[in-house]
Each structure stands twice: as structure tokens, then as C-alpha cells.
């Protein structure tokens, strides 16, 4: 296991006062880290360092404690996500249905590891532990939308479509 280096240095544009105000309902509640972090992620799409500091100040703890909670959950990201977030289900059913092969194919196609974002900022590849529709596995969540029975080839086609749509736009 390699230790994630400081993923996001202090200095990201976080409107601390506004964020603090929006988190005021959690003031002084040491146990409210998860809902506060969810609010942060909803606001910025990820958890920037400065926002984590605001959460810590709101709860009355130091940032490390909040980070300990945040880093437990796959859901929280510490770097800005790409334009498209691809989450491959690695739950039991999807695993048996070939999720690992799917993940490997996507990693190869995108040239990144799971958890990373492509250099052009287009794709973030993550895994998720069972969003529920086990009957139609392997499942892939494309920007939050479940896609059924995604084979490696289907995934490649999906990426190609998204890429061509982008080049058509730009």
C-alpha cells in the first residue's frame, strides 16, 4: 500500500465563511462528521483540505479526526473529480460477474489506476461497493446512473462515445 501524499494542498478556493455558515447546524457535534462531509462533497464535488478544516472547526475537533472518518469511506474524494465519474461495482455479485476484468479494462483504456483522474480531467475511475442492482451485474455507475451488464468491450464503447461527443463539442 502506498500512502497517498498530500492530495490537495491548502489553498483551494473554498469560501470558508459561507461553508461555515452552511454547516452551523453541526456546531460542536463531534459525531456529525459524516453529514458535514457529505454537505461539503455536495458543494464542491470533493473534500478540499480547507473545507475539511472548516468542518473540523465546526465540530470542535482537529482536522486529523475528521480526515480519519473521511478516509474510511470510499465515497469521499480528496481531489477534484473528472467531468465523468465512472464507479465500478466490486460487490460480491458483480465480482463474480467479472467486475475485476471490467476494472482492469477501464484502467488500461484510461491509462490510470482506480481512484485516479485522467490528466485531461475527463474521467475519474472509482469503485463502489454494491449500489443494489445485483441482478444486472456487472454494474457500472456512469455519473450516478447504473449501467447494466457492462462487459469490457461495452465499457470501451461507452468511453468512445463520450470522447467523441466531447470532441464534437469542442
Amino acid at each position: 500500500m502506498s500512502r497517498p501524499s498530500p492530495i490537495e494542498r491548502p489553498g483551494a478556493a473554498v469560501d470558508t465563511a459561507g461553508l461555515a455558515a452552511s454547516l452551523s447546524q453541526y456546531r460542536g457535534q463531534r459525531g456529525a462528521a459524516v453529514p458535514a462531509l457529505e454537505a461539503v462533497q455536495a458543494r464542491y464535488g470533493y473534500v478540499p483540505y480547507q473545507a475539511l478544516v472548516v468542518v473540523a472547526e465546526t465540530l470542535g475537533v482537529l482536522p486529523a479526526e475528521v480526515f480519519g472518518v473521511a478516509s474510511f469511506y470510499e465515497e469521499f474524494r480528496f481531489a477534484p473529480p473528472g467531468a465523468h465519474v465512472i464507479a465500478v461495482c466490486t460487490g460480491t455479485s458483480c465480482h463474480l460477474a467479472g467486475a475485476q476484468q471490467l476494472l482492469a479494462a477501464l484502467e488500461g483504456e484510461l491509462g490510470i489506476k482506480t481512484g485516479q483522474t485522467t490528466a485531461d480531467g475527463q474521467f475519474t475511475l472509482t469503485q463502489v461497493s454494491c449500489p443494489g442492482p445485483c441482478a444486472i451485474g456487472p454494474v457500472l455507475m456512469m455519473d450516478g446512473e447504473p449501467q447494466a451488464r457492462v462487459t469490457p468491450d461495452a465499457a470501451r464503447r461507452m468511453l468512445a462515445t463520450l470522447r467523441s461527443a466531447r470532441s464534437a463539442q469542442g
Binding site: M1, S2, R3, P4, S5, P6, I7, E8, P10, Y49, L52, V53, A56, G60, V61, L62, P63, A64, E65, V66, F67, G68, S71, F72, Y73, E74, F78
Partner: protein, 946 residues
């Protein structure tokens, strides 16, 4: 007894108390159960699964550290199943730790350069680990008998051994964290027992590290893995002391091997008086003080010479009970600093040259004889022992016949103590600091406790964390403690006294302390107090201090109505002059509400210099003899004359400012300065230099060549705290024994020894002491509260004065039952006017909350010597915008008395119109404040940081 239960462990019938865990019972009875995550100061955690046992009638193998012992329990710790479990769990724990050596039968015989015939990579071996031979994991592996059939990570170990040299730091493929100050972390050695995280959280209330990435490979880290000094870390080192492996280590202890011996003594850095265990490298047992000619004479610590490699707080220290702070943990390096003076220096032809004790003492005997009487002055030190201060003032008063004795920190502290003496009848803080953690409420004012006396700050945090105590923090700036405060009253700098008066008034107005008639029955001075309070109605208090009426009333109720409320006044640099009058108002508060004379109540005056209380008690003052007797009082003088067998001068002498003035005018000819750097600590170094330069004889006794010492005619090399026996009296009046743990470096000698030699050279009687304990014996004779204190009685725990007789147990809590003077005496409120900004000096100056990366440590601490600390000045964004300043800009802070250069830090943690300075250096305080209290300043843009 109902609380006693009977359990059987491994067939042994044992008695235990209800509430103990099975592990605690076994431990108390010296029965071994392996543990790795258990720590005496922490709550049971049950993470390492090493302490599993079998309990008859219970399913499975419960962890003994989390299982409460019950009456009739039958426990087995050494059945084959349990042994196998211990072994297998240990195997899992070491799987991610370099373990080739942990199961090697030859480990103890292995040297760093030995060729290993097993498959252990050179850099994966225990001998290269900083914790080798003092490692709890090693010990546990031995005790459990770890036996691995093959290395757990065969491929990597082989690869390392055969193909390449892999640093041990790559075992988990984590990089070692070496960028932090003072200590390093290498999580490849971590077994994730969580002790450091729990120590940081439970013990210290910080939580700057946490278990992170608990989904994949759990490890310890800060938020975003940022360096510690950006994480809120206070560098107390509790995590280091908790770690069972080499994952967290002081830089000073790395590659030092096992300490050859350890010894306990008292930390020299503040008036908490923490007991520390010092681990020492070097074979020598501390020898008694050597004579004139002995002592190795080397300037630098040579190989094999005693060196303190690690310091850790002891659990049994009465004032700290397992706590220390960055200063006690890391600030002792100056003992072996290359800057230490090792021989007496004598000025010859304008140059200070190395000399011998014989020559220096001979010279001094001749010279001092010319300056007896009021031409002589002596400056003691609140950093020196009771014995040194006692002997110095005795030397000045008897042999030199002069009452010109003082020390730089005296004036403000003496005023504090005299205030307490006047109101209550005894000059000392009323209760032990350890009691603070059991207080129901604490009113905390003045400077940031976490900076001045961090260990007391921890007590306050614990009170809030463990007992839900209500902390009311009165402070202009946000601090670590305000995170724990039930109420943070954000006052303007310098208005603590106004807030205190406002609280008094609120308590009386709300009827929380009975009416005036009832008060007058208990207390003196009621009408005068009431009259003086007339000016402090809520509206005017709010106007002056900025604290609203509502919060004032809320705080007043909390203070008056809680079952045990304590007042903690922290005297920082900026509070010195206002502290006495503030403390009087606060003492009134305690008297009026009766929050006094019971556990966890009372008034705590926390100061910053180690032995201020001792120096006060020893009569290190121009107008007071030992025991607080006034010089001008014939009866008191007579009592001391009886013991000393010497007539004493009757006129009070000059204080330090007076002595310096007399030096400038040529009336004072000779000055003996012990352990203080008068030049650097002065508001106006130039004036002090001028005064000292005019003296015919300046003697400086110090451990390094300070700016003052450079002006001296004779410099006497003094031993440091670790090299001399003696006593300190801490802020809670506890007299504690300082033990000589290493031999004095070179020809440096303990202060008391030097004074005795000098006195005998001048043919003085009454200085034939052969050990500090004999000096203490005489102190007991001349200083009534110390009457029952002796060297032997202080061995373990120290004693809190008053301790008038040898069978007296000491007095932890003053004023129990009734106030010492009979009836408490209220002082009318008479406050200094808080500083008001004007057009020339538009900002009020306060002490900034500690910027995270900045800590005060004494010179000689290697890490900081290499990186001198800049001062930071904190200001509000509005003010910064107006002045065109941004964070990091160099700024000159100018006050009416002086100026310092600092870097700007723009922050909304501070009010507009207020600026906070970090005061890293004593001389910054001196220059800006000029010995007065809070002040107004202006900020100027500087071109370059100085």
C-alpha cells in the same frame, strides 16, 4: 469489604477490587499476559488481541484488558490454546513490521556490522532500528516465543537480502516522515495499536493524528498527511512515549542505542515542576560534586561522555502524573550544548581568557573585599534552585553586608504574592494543579495557558473532556483551550481586571453571594469593595472590555453556583504589570463566593519562570529575608540573625532597576549576577550595557557565555539543572528535589557550590556546606513554612508548604475550614487603565495564539538552533487591507518603548484594532512592553524581515 472480589488466575487465588479489569488484576499480581495496545494512562482498547485469556463459563477467548474482573472468576492465561492464540495473533501483528530479527534466537548477540546468514536484509534488521533493545514489540516477541516457520514476506526479504539494499523505511512502501521538527515517524514500523492516537486524544485532548484509511491499509496520519506542524500538534511527545515500536522516535534518541541508565529529576522550564525520567548514555554514575581540580575539561561532548538522549514524564510525578510538554520533552539539549562554559573566565587585558577556579576565586576574594556594603549588589534567578538563591542572598547580606539583592522576575511575582498574602494570609497559589481536572468549573484568564504552562492546560482540557466541566475562557484571541470552553468571553487586551470586577458586580447584583450584611460577617473590607464596584456596572464593563452583559451574567452564575470553581490566571509577558491588581479582584471573587479552601477551587496564579515561588520564599528581594520577613522589621531580622550568627544590614536595599541606576551613577561598584542575561532581557539593552560597563567588578555565573557574561570581569561556569542537586518550589508551593543525574560538564559547578567556595575564600562563616541537602536544612531553620522539609522527605513526592514540622504532611490545599488570616480581606478594585490606542499607536498589543509551527524552546535545542524562530504578528483582514499588508510580509511592530521585526499573519481569529505577537523571544517582550503591561503599538511595513 464489599468492594473486594476474589478471582483465580492460573490456579492462584487472588484478591482484587471491583472495577478492575482481568488484565489489571494479573498485572498487579505480577502475572504476565502479553499486551501491545494497553497503556496505563489510556482507556482499555482491546485492539491488539494479545491479551486473550480463557475464563471458565465464558465462550471463546475474551480480551483481558477489556473484561471486568468479577467475583469468583476463574481465569487461565497459559493453556496451550491461549498460548497458540497469542503466538498467532502476534504473527499477524508483525507481518507488516520488519520481523526477520524478531524471531531470531541470535538477535541479542547481533551487531550492526555482523554478517547475517539468515534471510534478513541488512537494513531490515533490528540493530538498525532506533528502538532496538528498548522495544516493546521485541520484548513481547521474546516473551511469547515468536517462532516463524518461514519469513512472512518471503519474496521481499529474499529480494532485499540478495539483490539490493532496501532501506527499512520501504517495508510497507511508506516513506519515513522526517520533515517534522524534533521527532521522526516511520510507519513501516507501526503495528497500528492506536496508542499514539489515543494518547493524543484521551491524554492530551489534541487529536492531531488519527487512524486514517481505515478501509484499505489502516495507518496513523494527520489530515491529508500534512506535516505535524500544520496539524495542530503541540509536540508534547505523548505519542512517542506511548509507542511500543520504533515508529515514532525523538531525533535525539535515534542511533543512540539503549540508554545505559536513567534517573528522575524535575524539569527546569516552568513552575509546573514536571518530574522527568532522563535516559542517559554514558557509563558514569553521577558522582558527588568534585573538588576544584577534578572534572574532565572538554568543551564538546565526547564519545562516552554522559549525554541525555531522551526525556519522558513519570507517572508518579506529583505535579504532572505522566504529562510533559515540548519543553520538558525536547528542551533539555542545552545541557550538552557545545556552547557550555567549562572553565572560569577572567578578564585580562580587556579579553576574557580561560582560567582556573583557584585563580578566579583568589582574584574575586581580593576584589570583592573592596566593595563591601551598599556598593555591592547580587542578582539571583527564578531559574536557579532554592539553595542557590538562598545562599546568594545570604552571601550578599552577611559577607557583603548589602541588601541589594533582587532577580528580574521578582517585582511582578512578589506583587502577586503580597496581594494573596494580604487577602488570605499566605503568599501562594491555593490549590494543587492536578486538582484542576476534577473542577466543575474554571474561570481562565490572562495569557494562553497552553503556551505558558501547557501541562496545566491539559488539566483544564481534561476537566472539560472527562467531567464536563464548564470552562469560561477570557481571552482576546482564540486559543486551543477556547475549543473546550463552555463560554469564551472575548475581551479587549488588558481588560481582564475589568471583566473580573464586572463578574464581582454581577454576582453581587444577582444576589449569588448573599447581601452585604452577610458578607460583612465573613469578610473584611466589604464597604470599600462595594464602593469601588460602583464604577463597574454592566454597561461600562461592556464599553471597556467588550464583554456583553449577558455573557458576564452567565459566567458569573457558572462561577458562583458550580460545586467547585477554580480561577486560573495565567501571567504571560503582556500581563506582568496588570496581574497583581487583576489577581486581587479575582481573589475577591473567590472570597465573596466562597470558592476557596476545598478541592478544585481557589486561585491559581500561573507564572512563567520555574522557581519564582522559591526565589520569593528564599528572600531573593531587597526588602525581604527568607520566609517573607521584612528587612525593616527588627524581630524578623533577629530570628534570621540568630541562625546565621551574623548582624544584618537594616536598611532595605535596591531592586534591580535601582541597582542598574546606581551602577550608572557609580554608586554601585560590584555586581554578582547568577544565571540571568540582564542585557538581552532588558527593554533597553544599551542602557543596561552602559550600566554594567561602568562597574568595577561584574561577576556572571552562568552555563553559557551570554551577552551579559561577555561584559563580565569574571565568568564562573555554572552546572545546569541536570548536573546539580537542589530543590525547586513549583507554582503550587510544592518543594521538589532536583537530582544530579549527570556529572557537571568540564569544570562547571553547581551554583550553591560556587557561592560557598567564594564565601569561604572571603573567610565567611556559615558557608561550610558539603551538599545541597545541608543548605536545605538551614533553609528549614530560617524559613518557617519549610520548617519540616528535609532532603530525605522530598525523595519521592515533594512537599507542599506550609510544612512547619518534620511530622507535618504538607498542605496541598490552603485555607481549608477558614482562611489562613482568619477573616478574608477584600481589596477594593483598583485597576490599571487598560491601554487605549491613539493616532500614533492605533493597535492594542496582545499575545498571539500560538501559530502551529512555533514553539518556544531554550537555546541549545538542536532543531531550533538551526532554524531560529521568527516573530509573527497576527492582525485582522480589515486592518491588513488598510495597511496594505498581506500574510508573510515583514512588519515592524513599534511601541512607545521599542520595536521588533515580525512577519504578518492575516487572520480573522483576532479582533479588528488588536494585534497579537507570538513573543517567541523574551527580548521581544522586554523591548515592546518595557516592563509595563499591555501596550498600544503601530505597525510599519518593513523592507526585509530581520
Amino acid at each position: 469489604m464489599a468492594d473486594e472480589i476474589a478471582v483465580t488466575i492460573d490456579g492462584k487465588p487472588l484478591r482484587a477490587r471491583r472495577g478492575m479489569t482481568v488484565y489489571e488484576v494479573a498485572r498487579e499480581n505480577n502475572l504476565y499476559i502479553p499486551t501491545l495496545c494497553w497503556d496505563p494512562t489510556l482507556k482499555p482498547f482491546g485492539a491488539c488481541r494479545m491479551c486473550l485469556v480463557q475464563i471458565e463459563g465464558q465462550r471463546g477467548f475474551p480480551a483481558s484488558c477489556t473484561t471486568p474482573a468479577a467475583d469468583g472468576m476463574v481465569i487461565r492465561t497459559n493453556t496451550p490454546e491461549v498460548d497458540q492464540l497469542h503466538h498467532d495473533n502476534l504473527e499477524l501483528l508483525v507481518a507488516e513490521h520488519p520481523h526477520g530479527c524478531l524471531h531470531c534466537h541470535r538477535r541479542k548477540h547481533c551487531g550492526p556490522f555482523d554478517i547475517c546468514l539468515r534471510d534478513v536484509g541488512v537494513t531490515d534488521r533490528c540493530v538498525v532500528c532506533p528502538k532496538d533493545k528498548q522495544c516493546e514489540l521485541q520484548r513481547t516477541c521474546e516473551d511469547v516465543g515468536l517462532h516463524l516457520r518461514r519469513p512472512l514476506k518471503e519474496d521481499r526479504a529474499l529480494e532485499a537480502a540478495v539483490w539490493e539494499v532496501r532501506p527499512v523505511s520501504l517495508y510497507r512502501q511508506l516513506e519515513a516522515e522526517r520533515q517534522d521538527p524534533l521527532f521522526g515517524r516511520d510507519y513501516n514500523l507501526c503495528i497500528v495499536c492506536g496508542r499514539c492516537v489515543r494518547a493524543c486524544d484521551e491524554q492530551r485532548g489534541i487529536s492531531c493524528i488519527s487512524l486514517v484509511h481505515r478501509d484499505r491499509g489502516t495507518i496513523i496520519g494527520t489530515a491529508f498527511n500534512l506535516p505535524l506542524n500544520q496539524s495542530g500538534c503541540e509536540f508534547c511527545g505523548a505519542c512517542i512515549d506511548a509507542c511500543p515500536t520504533g515508529a515514532i522516535m525523538e531525533f535525539s534518541a535515534m542511533s543512540q542505542g539503549k540508554a545505559e541508565r536513567s534517573a528522575t529529576t524535575i524539569c527546569p522550564h516552568c513552575p509546573v515542576g514536571c518530574q522527568l525520567r532522563l535516559d542517559i548514555r554514558g557509563q558514569e554514575e553521577a558522582a558527588p560534586v568534585p573538588g576544584l581540580m577534578q572534572g574532565r575539561d572538554r568543551g564538546h561532548p565526547a564519545r562516552g561522555e554522559d549525554q541525555i538522549i531522551r526525556s519522558s514524564p513519570t507517572l508518579t510525578g506529583p505535579a504532572n502524573m505522566g504529562e510533559a510538554c515540548h519543553r520538558g520533552k525536547f528542551g533539555l539539549g542545552y545541557v550538552s550544548s557545545p556552547q557550555r562554559l567549562t572553565r572560569p573566565l577572567l578578564r585580562k587585558d580587556g579579553q576574557l581568557v580561560e582560567s582556573t577556579w583557584f585563580e578566579a576565586l583568589d582574584y574575586l576574594a581580593l576584589e570583592l573585599a573592596k566593595h563591601r556594603g551598599e556598593a555591592f549588589g547580587a542578582v539571583g534567578s527564578a531559574r536557579a534552585t532554592n539553595e542557590a538563591n538562598y545562599l546568594l542572598q545570604k552571601f550578599a547580606r552577611t559577607i557583603m553586608a548589602s541588601n541589594n539583592v533582587d532577580h528580574p522576575g521578582r517585582q511582578s511575582y512578589a506583587a502577586l504574592m503580597e496581594g494573596l498574602d494580604e487577602a488570605l494570609g499566605l503568599p501562594g497559589s491555593t490549590n494543587p494543579t492536578q486538582e484542576l481536572q476534577r473542577a466543575a468549573m474554571a474561570l481562565v484568564l490572562g495569557a494562553d495557558v497552553m503556551q505558558v504552562q501547557p501541562v496545566v492546560g491539559v488539566q483544564l482540557k481534561r476537566a472539560a473532556m472527562l467531567n464536563g466541566a464548564k470552562l469560561v475562557v477570557v481571552s482576546p484571541v482564540q486559543s486551543e483551550l477556547s475549543r473546550y470552553a463552555a463560554l469564551w468571553l472575548r475581551n479587549r487586551p488588558g481588560t481582564e481586571g475589568v471583566v473580573a470586577a464586572g463578574l464581582l458586580r454581577a454576582i453581587l447584583d444577582e444576589g449569588l453571594a448573599g447581601d452585604a450584611a452577610a458578607l460583612a460577617q465573613r469578610l473584611e473590607g466589604v464597604p470599600e469593595l462595594l464602593a469601588s464596584l460602583a464604577a463597574f456596572d454592566a454597561a461600562s464593563v461592556e464599553r471597556t472590555s467588550g464583554v456583553s452583559r449577558d455573557s458576564l451574567v452567565q459566567a458569573a452564575r457558572l462561577y458562583a453556583q458550580s460545586p467547585a470553581s477554580a480561577i486560573v490566571y495565567c501571567v504571560g509577558s503582556a500581563h506582568r504589570s496588570q496581574a497583581p491588581s487583576d489577581l486581587q479582584a479575582l481573589t475577591d471573587l473567590a472570597l465573596v463566593t466562597g470558592q476557596l479552601g476545598r478541592p478544585s477551587t481557589g486561585v491559581y496564579a500561573l507564572a512563567d519562570l520555574t522557581n519564582l515561588q522559591g526565589a520569593y520564599d528564599m528572600g531573593m528581594a531587597p526588602d525581604r529575608l527568607p520566609g517573607g520577613r521584612a528587612v525593616a522589621n527588627p524581630a524578623g531580622r533577629f530570628a534570621v540573625e540568630q541562625v546565621w550568627g551574623h548582624h544584618l544590614p537594616t536598611r532595605p536595599g535596591l531592586g534591580l532597576p535601582g541597582m542598574l541606576a546606581a551602577g550608572t551613577q557609580g554608586r554601585l561598584k560590584a555586581l554578582y549576577v547568577l544565571g540571568e542575561d540582564l542585557v538581552e532581557e532588558a527593554p533597553d539593552p544599551g542602557a543596561v550595557t552602559a550600566a554594567l560597563s561602568k562597574l568595577s567588578l561584574l561577576i556572571v555565573q552562568d552555563s553559557t557565555l551570554t551577552s551579559t557574561a561577555k561584559l563580565a570581569h569574571v565568568v564562573l561556569p555554572a552546572a545546569t539543572f541536570a548536573e546539580s542537586d537542589g530543590t525547586f518550589t513549583n507554582g503550587e508551593r510544592r518543594v521538589q528535589r532536583l537530582n544530579q543525574v549527570v556529572a557537571p560538564r568540564g569544570q562547571s559547578r553547581p551554583d550553591w557550590w560556587i557561592i560557598c567556595q567564594l564565601a569561604q575564600e572571603l573567610e565567611g562563616r556559615g558557608f561550610a556546606f558539603r551538599h545541597a541537602s545541608q543548605v536545605l536544612q538551614e533553609i528549614a531553620m530560617t524559613t518557617p513554612p519549610y520548617g519540616g522539609i528535609s532532603w530525605e522527605r522530598l525523595e519521592q513526592q515533594g512537599l507542599q508548604w506550609p510544612c512547619p514540622s518534620p511530622d507535618h504532611p504538607g498542605t496541598p490545599i490552603l485555607h481549608q475550614g477558614q482562611v489562613a488570616r482568619g477573616k478574608g480581606k477584600l481589596a477594593p478594585i483598583a485597576l490599571l487603565t487598560p491601554p487605549t490606542p491613539d493616532s500614533r499607536f492605533p493597535f492594542v498589543l496582545t499575545t498571539a495564539a500560538r501559530a502551529l509551527e512555533q514553539f518556544q524552546l531554550p537555546a541549545g535545542t538542536k532543531w531550533f538552533d538551526a532554524r531560529p524562530l521568527p516573530e509573527w504578528v497576527e492582525l485582522h483582514p480589515q486592518d491588513a487591507a488598510r495597511l496594505g499588508l498581506a500574510s508573510d510580509d515583514p512588519v515592524r511592530v513599534v511601541s512607545p518603548t521599542g520595536q521588533v521585526t515580525a512577519r504578518a499573519k492575516v487572520s480573522d481569529g483576532i479582533s479588528p484594532g488588536v494585534v497579537g505577537l507570538t513573543f517567541h523571544q523574551e527580548r521581544s517582550a522586554a523591548r515592546l512592553l518595557g516592563g509595563r503591561g499591555a501596550t498600544a503599538v503601530r505597525l510599519e511595513k518593513a523592507t526585509a524581515a530581520g
